[in-house]
């Protein structure tokens, strides 16, 4: 396996990404695509805003009763002939999947796109234990051949150009006719379709993720466009669903309400091509379908997020709207984030799952423009949560030295108003004098990073407090209105 950037080195990952012209072209496509389509389909559904509140409430209700719903869900899976396996950690989840594969005598395992599988490191786990793992989602297949991690949670190969894919296929596909044209996306798609066909039929085990688990009937739901997930789970002898605990919803009606938001927020489709509700193994009289159905329920840090300020993040449905609209993601792409989950959702989820000590930079990968929060269908307060992690990172001694000194100095001054006024007065005058007639500064001590790309408009020679005092001397200050006293503090 190649070595890949880690979350701990976000700043240098980001610099490399900004200097990569191919990546920048790919990210340009992303910005023109999803956000525009999303805006169109959202405008076409006047109920969209109200549905966001509904979706938030559905998930909050489920999370607050998660133990009860999980038990009911499990009983219903068993009732329909399936099995549920509980995994506390990534390691336990991988072992469970591997045991099922071994019991099924699996040599070839087909796999649909699953973010939680990435999270638990399932790919590498299977690869190093003699399993031929075949990714069947086109984007996942491309990055599998290139031995790269996904750079986006919906379009994992968004960082790769068609020319690069053509080269990758030529290098990896034995017996490929050298004259076969692989220039256009259509040619590449056809080649992938041909290659993967035989694998679906040959696989003993098919692994998919889940977008929802439904307590009411013990079903799992996957939402896809390519049809690979359905071929994976229908044609293999054994279907394994790998899903994290928070995928649960109580009823089909609840799932449908959230589904109305998912595709719109994600790819800007009104509904994805395939929304598949799977329930247990093949029935006795059925002609096709898997003979066994397993669900591996993954905790891996979720239960610890419940009841804390991180619980809101468990509402996430992995739609990617936040990263599609994020200026930081749009500039540096997904790999810079160094772990499975990029963009604003990653900046919050990654520290929750792998610890702020391993990802202290990520909550800083934001301009706080708040766009992520505006588009998040589940109304997750992403910026508030990032701020929380910034505070935690600061409190535990992570963050830049200059930043820490500057913040330390500022908080000393802020607690001493007279000193604060005096220092800011001098600074404002000083900066104004340095800027001279140009009115802006191209360099400021300690802010080299900021002024490298732009000029700082200079203060106009007076502080806010000075002006406030001057203005209030002119106009008599309004007396604050007397509010009726509440019982508080009595």
């Amino acid at each position: 396996m190649k070595t890949h950037p880690t979350s701990a080195t976000f700043p240098s990952n980001a610099s490399t990404a900004l200097a990569d012209p191919i990546l920048q072209r790919a990210l340009g496509n992303l910005k023109k695509g999803f956000p525009v389509k999303r805006a169109e389909v959202v405008a076409d559904l006047p109920e969209f805003e109200a549905l966001r509140d509904v979706a938030r409430d559905i998930k909050d209700h489920t999370l607050n009763h998660l133990d009860a719903y999980l038990e009911i869900y499990e009983a219903n899976v068993v009732q329909s002939g399936g099995q549920v396996h509980w995994a506390r950690t990534a390691e336990e989840a991988c072992e469970t999947v591997m045991t099922i594969c071994r019991d099924a005598g699996a040599r070839i395992v087909t796999k649909g796109k699953s973010m939680v599988a990435e999270e638990i490191g399932l790919n590498n786990y299977l690869d190093t234990r003699g399993i031929e793992r075949v990714e069947t989602d086109l984007g996942e297949y491309i990055i599998q051949l290139r031995d790269e991690p996904p750079s986006h949670i919906i379009v994992p190969a968004v960082h790769v150009t068609k020319e690069q894919i053509g080269e990758t296929f030529r290098a990896a596909h034995d017996g490929l006719d050298p004259n076969r044209d692989l220039t256009e996306p259509r040619d590449i798609t056809d080649e992938a379709r041909d290659r993967l066909r035989q694998k679906y039929f040959a696989a003993e085990v098919g692994i998919t993720g889940a977008n929802f688990l439904v307590a009411e009937n013990g079903s799992s739901i996957i939402v896809t466009n390519e049809g690979n997930g359905d071929l994976t789970q229908t044609l293999a002898k054994v279907h394994i669903v790998v899903a994290s605990l928070e995928k649960l919803v109580p009823t089909m009606e609840d799932a449908i309400a959230v589904l109305r938001l998912l595709a719109r927020s994600s790819t800007g489709q009104e509904f994805s091509v395939y929304t598949t509700v799977s329930n247990g193994p093949k029935r006795p009289a059925d002609l096709d379908g898997p003979e066994a159905y397993h669900v591996v329920l993954v905790d891996n840090g979720r239960t610890a997020m419940l009841g804390t300020e991180n619980q809101d993040m468990l509402r996430c449905i992995r739609c990617a709207a936040c990263m599609n609209h994020c200026p930081v993601y749009g500039a540096v792409g997904g790999h810079a984030y160094g772990w499975v989950y990029p963009g604003p959702m990653g900046a919050v989820l990654t520290p929750s799952l792998i610890g702020i000590e391993n990802s202290g930079h990520l909550p800083h990968a934001s301009t706080f423009c708040g766009h992520c929060e505006q588009v998040c269908p589940m109304k997750i307060p992403l910026t508030k949560m990032m701020r929380h992690y910034r505070n935690r990172a600061y409190a535990s001694g992570h963050g830049s030295k200059i930043g820490r000194i500057a913040l330390g100095a500022w908080s000393y001054l802020a607690a001493r108003p007279a000193l604060y006024r005096w220092v800011t007065k001098i600074a404002a005058r000083g900066l104004g004098w340095f800027a001279g007639r140009r009115g802006s500064l191209s360099r400021v001590p300690l802010a080299g990073g900021w002024t490298e790309m732009r000029d700082l408009p200079a203060p106009e020679g007076e502080t806010f407090m000075e002006r406030y005092d001057r203005e209030s001397r002119r106009k008599p200050r309004q007396e604050p209105r007397q509010e009726p006293q509440s019982g508080l503090g009595q």
């Binding site: 998660l66 133990d67 894919i165 009937n217 466009n225 049809g227 690979n228 071929l231 309400a257 247990g280």
Partner: protein, 224 residues
């Protein structure tokens, strides 16, 4: 039961700051599951039967499905034959056993097999549980009469849908499926909501129709 199970459940309760729910705590949960209630239904489906059919057709076409309308079941085989010729496809298909009533004698050139789909079957023909006007979506359910492979393996999927199966929102379609399941005594193994032929945007965000699933989705709407 497994140690992991117990630890996860008790971990959840600890985080939520409570023990297992008692009968009073469980009551709202039981009620929610027993009588699932609908959330907001988009106003766009507030139409009469005629309007729903028109919405279904325009939405289905909008996601690259093709649609044909015929007067009755007897006319369906000819509509299928016409489509195969128009798309330059072989005169050979696999149909769902559930469509055994279709009388192919009117289209004698077509070779019809009944059963599941395998490689290299090129055309699959199936019925549906419902058509959802909201987004031009079909709902199909697996069963002995309707194998799922027909929906995904052949490059062309043709669906016969009765006009009176077209409903407004997904919830109506799911209620049909629930009613069928209750009558049959078990849920289908798979229920597929299908909205157009398969597609991908994985290569430079350019939409390509036809990836691993069907390249073509054709819907024949039967009046009665």
């Amino acid at each position: 039961m497994s140690a992991a199970r117990e630890q996860i459940l008790s971990g959840i309760r600890k985080s939520l700051g409570r023990g297992p729910l008692d009968e009073t705590g469980m009551a709202p949960i039981r009620q929610r599951l027993q009588a699932p209630s609908r959330h907001i239904i988009p106003a766009r489906v507030n139409l009469d039967a005629e309007g729903l059919v028109a919405l279904f057709i325009s939405k289905a076409k909008g996601v690259s499905a093709s649609v044909d309308e015929v007067a009755d079941m007897a006319a369906a085989p000819q509509a299928v034959a016409r489509y195969l010729i128009k798309e330059n496809l072989p005169a050979r298909l696999v149909q769902a056993p559930g469509l055994a009533d279709m009388d192919w004698s009117v289209a004698p050139t077509i070779e019809v097999r009944s059963g599941l789909a395998e490689e290299p079957d090129e055309v699959g023909l199936t019925p549906a549980v419902a058509g959802v006007a909201e987004t031009g979506t079909l709902l199909l359910a697996s069963g002995p009469e309707t194998p799922t492979t027909l929906n995904f393996v052949p490059a062309t999927h043709i669906v016969v849908l009765r006009r009176d199966q077209i409903v407004g929102p997904y919830e109506d379609a799911w209620d049909h499926l629930r009613a069928n399941a209750e009558a049959a005594g078990s849920q289908p193994r798979a229920a597929n909501f299908i909205t157009g032929p398969s597609r991908t945007g994985d290569i430079e965000q350019k939409i390509e129709i036809g990836v691993h699933g069907p390249l073509r989705l054709h819907i024949v709407i039967v009046e009665r």
